[in-house]
């Protein structure tokens, strides 16, 4: 599951940034390395919500800085969703 989530997040970021998925590394900074500004972060949140039927909270969205944090966020949201079902 973890690997899949990481891959899916990287593919999503790739679609939004023009990078290739394999070029995107966990430790990369969304702003400095991938040029993801706050508008793109909102697009990412919207895409995550739509694709996975989860809710990203304001503070989670504001705090996103690195690729690995985006992966962790999606993993946490999916775990939470699974527990509720």
């Amino acid at each position: 599951m973890g690997q899949n989530v990481a891959q899916e997040v990287k593919e999503m970021l790739a679609r939004m940034t023009g990078f290739e998925p394999e070029e995107i590394k966990d430790e990369m900074d969304l702003v400095k390395d991938l040029g993801v500004d706050s508008l793109k972060v909102i697009e990412i949140a919207t895409a995550i919500e739509k694709t996975y039927q989860v809710t990203v909270k304001d503070n989670q969205l504001i705090k996103l800085k690195k690729v690995k944090e985006a992966i962790q966020l999606l993993q946490d949201l999916l775990d939470k969703k699974a527990k509720r079902q």
Binding site: L39, I42, E43, A45, D58, L61
Partner: protein, 427 residues
Amino acid sequence: MSKRIVITGIGPIASVGIGKEDFWKGIINKNTNVELAKSHAGDEIWDEYYVHKVQKFDIHNFGINEDDLEYIEDWKESPIDMDMQYMLAAVKLAFDDGKIDYKKAGKDSVGLIVTNENLGMEDFCNKILNESYKKMRDSTGISEKAFSDDVYYKIVKNGYEVQTFMPLFHVARTFNIHKYSLFVNNACASGLYAIEAASDMIKLNKTPVVVVCASDHSNVYKHLWFKMINMYEPDGKMKPYSSKSKGLVMGEGASALILEDYDHAKKRGAHIYAEYLGGGFRLEGWKITIPQVGGTSYQEAIEDALTASKTSKEGIDLICGHAPSTMAADAYEAQAISSVFGDSNISVTAFKPYVGHTLGASTLVELAILLLAMENDFVPPVLNTKEIDSRFKIDLIKDKRKLKIKTVMKLCCAFAGFNAASIFRKA
């Protein structure tokens, strides 16, 4: 035939000035009065932050009945909080400007709508912190129950002050207003919602005159919140629609407007600033602090306003944006404007660099500037923004412009997704 609604009084208070004349003079002279405020915790500085500070304000200088002010103080068992002081003063200025003798007219022909996001909250937080700290520091054997009882007793009165009927009651009582009244809170868009509600009140014959007022006092708690969510501009200069912008700078102040039935205003020979033609209002319902960039809610509010006011998009001469200078909100707003107005090169202005972000009071404070701009055929230039974000397709007024403006649109995309657009036409 539907009634026409006009504005016949303005009572603005902001960092640029107090009262219509000084306020406008301050705008023209760019007296933004940004100061570095210091918040103290004991002997230490807790935080420093820029704020557009209201200058030389004294509630006793407005000719408000001192007994009525004392009544509020007695009730609160503490000085009147600044939010309330600004609000009372703005209402008095608007009554004076509108030449309405509220002592006579208040009873049978004046309604009231009050808007404020956090009235009383500052006092509430101060009391909790100060009283708790003192007791903790000096705890000398007092039992926990006695301590709780004591602290609770001291703060409970302020707890009630955050109930929204309180400012409505105090303002109404002070100005002898006894007709239909409402409290409105739609975050930063409160003022535009309040104007719509006032218009409805008049059209439904509940009252021929409604005072709409809003206030906001700056404090360190609000600042810290914006800083925490990365929405504070550290250089103290708000830069609407700029790629260099990092966020907002708080302002403080109040504004009151007199909304009136056109026939009623004509009959008493009132000066008419503008007519309120109608508004559009949408609630996005996505996130509290982040607009859904790419969504259509804001655009729909603008389209609704054009429909409600029976105005074509070509009929709008100027848009006054909310422009809180956060990238997301400014982009969202620019996107909504472009979606509706396309390539028509509609002129856009933004007044927050003059007065800061006065939060719940912002739409009414900025509307006061807009009404005075229409009155004077002069649009103050947008300060601080050197280069517009290249993604925003808007014509931002960065230079002084003599502009014959007849019909204007005020916009607001507030926290919690309250999207509002209101249209006014010069009388």
